[in-house]
């Protein structure tokens, strides 16, 4: 209840400030989204309204970002993505309220970008602005020369939003018998002692841009503690208890230009992550290990096309063979984009390629700017493989169209 009250307080305060004390600037978009699985098992008709209500002065700014989604087969969904107040001082900025905070140099991959939890209701398919969940936080920025010290305090924990029951994007782990779920420990009590703190030092200069960060946080994804009842060498009952655990991480990222291409690197050391294990002697079927999540990326232009490639590696340290996850998990991403007709027609291909399971998500997209602020999008999401993060959705190949009007 406390977290709801804090969020409501910030949202209402920001709305009142932005509408009463200053004449707000209102922008946003309306979007119609129609999509369906190629196998006919699922379809979506969604109309979205996204508003940005903003106002600013020389030493302050307000922003409220409400949204509404309407569906043909579901109740209206309304919310506020962001609602914050900015206060500007000589060398310090303060942002207080519900906000999305993005760190790191990776595109479409979350390594040091761990502050705003994800909304995975529709897997990784929505725009990244919609995947990231706003969190109530206080963000302090101190600027000196070309450097910035950023400290973020999150008073209570917000987990990853998982797909609803019955959603085609919900993956249920397989067990020998039907499990019973115990959600009694899933929620992290909203107390300051359960808050999260993140610190980042960053600099942007001619030689390179870099970030060094530290986080004391909760794992956004719950660990599934599995308690098995065994009788006569047979599993007769399973109780699954989702539970969030604290994590510490240190990391950093750099970006620089060399020989006409931009090189990016990002890495984080996660301390205290719980992994599921097949070792029957382990309590709750979990084991605690540290891991390193890293990325190397390159951006450039070739034959008039914008290209970007990333290699991502997740390595569990002091690996135990009973761990369900691979010791090293490698993924590639590839983005190719071509702008035509004076940047009114855009062809884009974005792909995730899982190297461990030979699976992939291929996302071709065509965008045509019918007029300033009016765009038509047609695309596809093609899942390849049978296992792995992407192959598990092999049945979910889909095509879609979107019409978006910005104002």
């Amino acid at each position: 209840m406390l977290n709801n009250r804090i969020t409501a307080f910030f949202i209402m305060s920001t709305i009142m400030l932005s509408t009463v004390f200053a004449s707000p600037d209102i922008s946003g978009y309306y979007r119609n989204y129609i999509g369906g699985f190629i196998n006919g098992d699922y379809s979506i008709i969604q109309n979205a309204l996204n508003l940005n209500i903003e106002s600013s002065g020389s030493n302050y700014a307000f922003k409220v970002n409400p949204y509404i989604y309407s569906y043909d087969d579901k109740p209206l969904e309304m919310g506020v993505r962001e609602a914050y107040v900015d206060l500007y001082f000589d060398s310090v900025d303060l942002r207080i309220g519900k906000q999305q905070i993005i760190w790191g140099k990776a595109d479409g991959v979350f390594i040091t970008d761990v502050i705003s939890p994800k909304n995975m209701s529709d897997f990784l398919l929505p725009d990244f602005e919609e995947i990231r969940t706003g969190i109530t936080a206080i963000k302090y920025n101190y600027y000196f020369e070309d450097s910035t010290l950023e400290i973020v305090g999150v008073p209570y924990f917000t987990p990853t939003q998982m797909p609803e029951s019955g959603s085609p994007w919900l993956l249920s782990p397989s067990f020998p018998v039907k499990p019973t779920y115990d959600y009694s420990q899933k929620k992290v009590p909203a107390q300051l002692a359960n808050g999260e703190v993140f610190v980042k030092y960053s600099a942007l200069n001619s030689l390179m841009d870099y970030e060094l960060m530290f986080g004391s946080m909760w794992d956004d994804d719950p660990t599934m503690h599995v308690d098995k009842t065994i009788s006569a060498s047979m599993v007769t009952a399973i109780t699954v208890t989702p539970k969030h655990h604290r994590l510490n991480l240190v990391g950093g990222s750099i970006s620089t230009e060399l020989l006409g291409v931009v090189l990016r690197a990002e890495s984080a050391y996660y301390q205290g992550k719980y992994f599921n294990s097949n070792n029957p002697s382990l309590l709750d079927g979990v084991i605690q290990k540290d891991y390193i999540h890293s990325l190397l990326g390159v951006d450039g232009s070739l034959w008039g096309m914008t290209m970007s490639g990333q290699w991502i590696s997740k390595m569990i340290l002091n690996y135990d063979n009973s761990i369900v996850n691979d010791e090293v998990d490698n993924t590639l991403t590839l983005m190719i984009r071509k702008d035509l007709l004076r940047e009114t027609l855009h062809l884009e291909l974005f792909s995730y390629l899982g190297l461990n399971n030979s699976d992939a998500l291929i996302r071709p997209k065509v965008t045509y700017d019918l007029d300033d602020g009016v765009k038509i999008i047609a695309g596809a999401n093609w899942f390849i493989g049978t296992t792995g993060v992407f192959g598990s959705y092999d049945a979910n190949d889909m095509v879609y169209t979107k019409v978006q009007v910005s104002f």
């Binding site: 922008s27 978009y29 600013s56 700014a61 900015d86 500007y88 900025d93 999305q100 905070i101 993005i102 760190w103 790191g104 140099k105 725009d127 990244f128 602005e129 920025n141 600027y143 070309d146 910035t148 960053s202 942007l204 001619s206 841009d209 970006s255 620089t256 230009e257 006409g260 291409v261 931009v262 951006d299 450039g300 232009s301 914008t306 702008d339 004076r342 940047e343 009114t344 007029d371 300033d372 602020g373 765009k375 978006q404 910005s406 104002f407």
Partner: protein
């Protein structure tokens, strides 16, 4: 006696023309343009109107700030319209050392982060206009070989007509020809030739004025003669030497916006 005086005068005239011609080379003319006194800093509202062959138009509005330092020039642009690019910002640092490439960053509000981008794409179109990123920046005189083709009167101004050929054969244009006003060192017109040495684009500077003792071009049109598309560019609310703070050219301001 008069014939002698006339002869001496003629010799002096010929000699002075010879000296003038010897001193003023194509490189010198372009250097004079490059080194023309400019404000230490400036801010302005830039409006670009993109007009296609059928006469349909689209408008882009930008607020821009520029500051000149001893060895570099910093520029930051905030996109005001159209609505789908609003709050996008772009920062560029160019260096006097022509061997050093520009540093460029872009802030996309949907991604909420500042990204370094490659300056190699400087020959790409700027926001779908007929200007490339390179066209909008200053080109160092040493990057081309310059030759005065002739002098010519254009818009009642005496101009040098200078041909500039890139030393790097991989450049977007095979050559440019520029009409430069002799006493003001302002380019009035510029032709851009494609790799087949066919005329590709023509830049016309329609109006310029003196603001705070500096010559500033306020209206120009870049026309693509091959496609029939053109872009009109207008500078308004120009403020020079107002002492823009160094902090204006920073990641902080890119994210904050206008």
């Amino acid at each position: 006696m008069n014939k002698i005086k006339l002869g001496v005068l003629l010799v002096l005239c010929v000699a002075s023309v010879a000296v003038f011609a010897k001193e003023i080379t194509g490189l010198k003319v372009i250097e004079n343009v490059y080194n023309r006194p400019t404000a230490k800093d400036q801010s302005s509202d830039l409006t670009m109107t993109l007009i296609n062959r059928r006469g349909d138009s689209r408008t882009r509005k930008i607020k821009q700030f520029l500051k000149v330092y001893a060895n570099e020039e910093k520029k930051i642009m905030f996109f005001v319209s159209p609505s789908d690019v609003k709050n996008t910002s772009f920062m560029n640092i160019s260096y006097n050392d022509e061997s050093k490439p520009d540093d460029q960053w872009i802030f996309l509000p949907a991604l909420k982060k500042v990204k370094r981008i490659s300056s190699e794409s400087s020959s790409d179109s700027f926001m779908g206009s007929d200007f490339t990123y390179d066209d909008l920046g200053e080109r160092h005189p040493n990057e081309d070989t310059h030759k005065i083709l002739r002098t010519e009167t254009l818009q009642n101004e005496e101009c040098f007509v200078v041909e500039s050929i890139p030393k790097d054969k991989e450049e977007l244009y095979s050559k440019t020809v520029t009409w430069i006003i002799k006493d003001k060192w302002i380019g009035l017109k510029k032709e851009f030739y494609d790799e087949d040495e066919e005329l590709l684009k023509m830049l016309t500077n329609e109006s310029y004025k003196k603001v705070s003792n500096y010559w500033v071009i306020v209206n120009s049109t870049m026309a693509n003669v091959q496609s029939g598309h053109r872009t009109e560019m207008k500078l308004e609310n120009l403020e020079l030497d107002k002492g823009i703070e160094d902090g204006q050219f920073s990641e902080r301001m890119m994210k904050r916006g206008l």
